[in-house]
């Protein structure tokens, strides 16, 4: 099960409405159909910020 973003109102578990922009967990087969219909989109996870090591000034201990 993977999370997707609703692009249209969806009927979620127990008949609850998942409004546009909200996340929903779907199996791969269901997601394939809804992605093809442009009814959901993949959630792009933001990449974690890289830690930049600053060069130590020469002579520093």
């Amino acid at each position: 099960m993977k999370k997707y973003k609703a692009l249209v109102p969806l009927r979620g578990d127990g008949g609850k409405t998942v409004t546009v922009g909200k996340e929903i967990e779907l199996d791969a087969e269901t997601a394939k159909t809804l992605l093809a219909n442009k009814q959901i989109e993949n959630i792009v996870e933001a990449e974690p910020a890289k830690t930049v090591e600053t060069a130590k000034p020469k002579g520093a201990k």
Binding site: P9, L10, R11, T17, I24, T30, T33, A36, N37
Partner: protein, 190 residues
């Protein structure tokens, strides 16, 4: 000549209403009110022997009856009967838009009632009274009732449960043992 006092036969209201479905009796369910009325019409005989016309005979010449009940059971059958409609099971696949404008994420079958498809909703009804006072159980059977719902159905009133009101006309049948409009049974306790 003796004075014969009446035996107390008070009954508390309450009971269940059923309709015949093949060989089974299915409960209409959550019946809030149930009433029936039996009416007769008379034909009068008159004589003109004197100066005034006088009624000298009176006979019941016709009878009719009505039932009415209110149910809070919003079943497929009750909704269909209220709309003189038929029930269709409509299937929706994943990705289809449903009647509430949401998109199906699972295949779903939705009972769908199309109004006005029947010219008559005819039921064989039976009311079985609850034996609340340890007295007689009051049972009434109506062999042929044409039902209709001509009062308001208000699904959006939040302070009350949704209700479907029905009225019905009792009709005679051609079946030998069921030719009367209705039969009442007073089943003794114990």
């Amino acid at each position: 000549m003796a004075l014969v006092p009446a035996v107390s036969t008070k009954q508390l209201g309450g009971g269940r209403l059923y309709y015949k479905d093949g060989n089974d009796w299915k409960e209409i369910g959550k019946v809030k009110e149930f009433k029936y009325k039996y009416s007769t019409e008379e034909t009068e005989g008159t004589s003109h022997d004197g100066c005034m016309e006088e009624i000298d005979d009176s006979r019941i010449s016709s009878s009719s009856g009505e039932v009415s009940f209110v149910t809070e059971n919003i079943s497929e059958e009750n909704v269909a009967n209220a709309a003189a409609g038929t029930i269709e099971q409509v299937s929706y696949a994943i990705g289809n838009t449903l009647p509430d404008e949401t998109v199906a994420t699972k295949a779903v079958t939705i009972p769908t009632i199309k109004a006005g498809k029947l010219s008559m909703v005819e039921k064989h009804l039976k009311f079985i009274g609850a034996n609340c006072t340890q007295g007689k159980r009051y049972v009434v059977e109506f062999y042929k009732v044409t039902l209709k719902s001509d009062s308001d159905i208000a699904p959006q009133v939040l302070k009350d449960f949704m209700q479907i009101p029905f009225t019905g006309k009792m009709l005679a049948t051609d079946i030998a043992d069921e030719s009367e409009l209705f039969t009442t049974y007073l089943i003794p306790a114990g």
